[in-house]
Symmetry: C2
Subunit: 496 residues, 2 copies
């Protein structure tokens, strides 16, 4: 029989159940691992089905910073002298996601976050009680706490008191993801109630007469097996950035010229399985995207411009917010985006950069640079004249870049071409998925829970809803937390 994720199997078509369990988990990344641990610790028997030959998912490929705080602050925030009330964190997250916000999820996360951090510590995840002060994408030292988002930048600093919430694991280099998943995998292995099946492709869900999810079909060793669940199925199968057709259909803004980041299993299968049983999907058009222009932090002294020579963002904001704005420019009225920097910052760029934007202009004068990159005459001169006057006065009256990142941009200057398709690195992954409650219960389009179905991580639409409000660590924070909530809910649904 030919199974297809979006077309569920009917219970009466199942001849026999090969496996019966309390909770079945689809995907063994950060969300799936946490769901399994939490379900087992609630006395449920758990079967985990992982497509790949090993667990880890996209979490293992990430830096695994954890964006977390609230409740007065995590142990590390408090050690480093920061208080972080739940209200303050909530105000920041609501400002970050605006109309896209899921207020219930945010409310739950800012209240449960500090306790989630303690849980990670109990699992054995190491965090040093130290702070890294530089502007960075990831901590390359083993220090823990850093600002990973736009907390100190306009307009966010007006909405909430800036507090660092990125928690880096105690490990040198960009190695947080592998370490986190090794620890979580050990925790899974230590629990007898959990069985993990690798190279196990879940093909579709099984629904009962009343529309409830009662199991799934999985292919293991070329055998298609029916799995019956007493509590529920937890979909932790990642997002859909690796499914080009789905990106084109649901998030078309991101379909051309960007680079998907994730694991090969991020093909949206979990989302399709949910849709097949009547789930609602939300936020499908939004992705994380970035222009990773720092390090070097000194490029923050530069300015981004469009092909009219206009600035369009405060450059001291999070790199993902800059990427989102640069993409918006190019999807509407600008064919080009440039980063204009002085030679001092460019020297740093030659030493280290992830941006990979080619240098396309150097000018001994502004006029020369303007002509070299083909801007309408006088536009860059006007923009820089105004910017330099504002830099001198210590106030960016147009875009409100912080005074600490203002310095006159004096020739010679360089232009880095940040236009999509001309070399600059624009990675993306998806932020849309199944609509869920904070408990992980999957909802219909009318927000009624579908009995027996749960989702977590990027299979669900979680806390982070747009690159314009993203901060590093939000997705791993959300995945590990939402995984736990979903695992707990599925375990609680098992009849005694």
């Amino acid at each position: 029989m030919k199974y297809s994720p979006a077309s569920p199997c009917r219970e009466h078509d199942i001849d026999s159940w090969a496996i019966e369990t309390d909770v079945a988990i689809v995907g063994f990344g950060g969300a799936g691992a946490c769901a399994a641990i939490e379900a087992a610790d609630a006395n449920a028997n758990v079967q985990v089905f992982e497509l790949a030959s090993a667990g880890g998912g996209s979490t293992a490929l990430s830096s695994a910073e954890i964006y977390i705080g609230g409740n007065g602050g995590t142990a590390v925030q408090r050690s480093c002298g920061y208080e972080d009330s739940s209200d303050n964190m909530k105000a920041f997250l609501e400002a970050s996601f605006g109309a896209n916000t899921d207020p219930d999820k945010i409310d739950d996360y800012v209240k449960g976050g500090a306790a989630h951090f303690d849980w990670l510590v109990r699992m054995g995840v190491p965090f040093k009680h130290s702070e890294l002060k530089q502007r960075a994408i990831v901590a390359l030292t083993d220090d823990c706490l850093l600002f990973t988002g736009s907390e100190r930048a306009w307009p966010f600093h007006l909405a909430a008191e800036p507090v660092p919430r990125g928690h880096n694991l105690q490990v040198e280099g960009d190695n947080g993801g592998p370490l986190l998943m090794r620890i979580l995998t050990e925790q899974v292995s230590a629990r007898e109630r959990i069985s993990v099946h690798y190279e196990a492709r879940v093909l579709t869900l099984v629904v009962g007469e009343d529309g409830a999810v009662v199991g799934l079909i999985v292919r293991i060793d070329q055998q298609e097996l029916a799995v019956r669940v007493r509590g529920g199925v937890v979909l932790c199968a990642g997002g859909f950035c690796m499914n080009e057709a789905m990106v084109r259909r649901f998030a078309p803004t991101y379909a051309e010229g960007l680079v998907p980041i994730g694991n090969p299993g991020d093909t949206g299968t979990g989302i399709l399985m949910g849709l097949g049983v009547g789930a609602g999907v939300v936020n499908m058009h939004e992705c994380f995207v970035t222009l990773p222009f720092y390090p070097p932090a000194s490029l923050t002294y530069g300015i981004f411009i469009n092909d009219k020579g206009q600035r369009f963002i405060n450059e001291d904001t999070y790199h993902g917010r800059v990427g989102h704005a640069a993409l918006a420019q190019q999807r509407s009225l600008s064919n080009r985006v440039y980063l204009i920097a002085d030679v001092e910052a460019y020297g740093d760029y030659e030493t280290i950069n992830f941006l990979q934007a080619p240098i396309v202009g150097t000018g001994e004068t502004i006029e020369e640079l303007e002509a070299e990159i083909g801007l309408p005459e006088g536009t860059l001169v006007e923009t820089l004249t105004r910017y330099n006057a504002d830099a001198e006065a210590g106030e960016d009256r147009l875009f409100h870049k912080s005074a600490s990142w203002l310095r006159r941009l004096e020739p010679p200057l360089v232009a880095l071409d940040c236009t999509i398709g001309r070399g600059a690195f624009y990675p993306f992954f998806t932020l849309g998925g199944l609509d869920t409650l904070p408990s992980g219960e999957v909802l219909t389009a009318q927000r009624r829970p579908i009995v027996g179905l749960y989702a977590a991580g990027r299979t669900a639409a979680g806390i982070p809803r747009t690159a314009a409000g993203y901060a590093s660590g939000m997705s791993v924070g959300d995945a590990t937390y939402s995984g736990r909530m979903a695992g707990r809910s599925a375990a609680a649904a098992v009849l005694p």
Copy 2:
């Protein structure tokens, strides 16, 4: 029993069928009427269920311009001296909708459009073989052909030869919608195979064991009746702009400060019913939105600016594209949007306007106006100095407004506040819905047809996909055409 659109009824729960028919149509607006006529003309028996006490839907409330062409041109286009190849129209539509494009639907529409126009004429819809040359939102004369989109504006004129495709009905004033629906209703009434039920609320779909749609539940006279279909159910129940919760969830950009336009039944019920049986939905985040700043056409000589004094659009483009850009400004980095006009244009504005934007500044000098509306010093001066120089030279080097709409903006000048929530009229309606084939077949998220289910009009994601590429008449053109295709497909699905 409590029914809910997104939770279908199971066939085995139906005790008896009150009505059996070949084709059931949900909603009697433009799409539903055309679906009914076409299905009946293919020898199917048809039952139409309409929520309201009378038919018409949002089509009856609209101007009912029909955006149509291709195949060498409609009879009216050819009479007025325009050729319009299908390839040319396709190039325009693809440029209009960019990454959001559904290429199959566009291909089908540009090939079938001229014949669809002939069909409307055969139904008795009157079109005068004449052209209206002024820049207008709707024709208030009984003339037919007009440019209703951005065909002549940058960048569209580079992608396709500009041809007018808006077809206004032969009726004085803004009365096309009522006339179109009166004619279509008469055609429906004249067909014995069609029964129309008013005040009939379809509650949910009925699905068979294999997931196919086999009927629906409708409430008529406080009775809940099961309707069995042999061919299919055609969902023509409109969009979801009147469902605030759905707008907030699926199209959050449009949830605050805008005015929904449509009929009270545009609550997304058809889309929810499709989702409940496993349909895929696409383009849910996109809406038509506009800033109806013309008439008077002379305001096109003005410029739109943000709160940094920057222009952001060529003002000679379609008002919906301007509305989309103005909204984008306000959803990202600008708290205000203004339209700067000279006193000549403002005089026209005082005579006629739909915009309702309040005047918030008048300046004998540019500096005075700039200060009055609180722009950073020098910004408006720079923008206008450049604009005026470009106007004099006859070339808008930044935004490419056509030379015919360039004239120096000399003080005294006025500023109209086009900021959301300060008076300016920002109407919107939704452009997302069920994913369908050009045939009207509703697809799962993996694009497999759901047996027995069809959709048309704004319940489906059709030709128009974003306000940034919209032209007046696209939605009624698409609704009437897609209604016919869906009605024909459902009739053809009836087993002989």
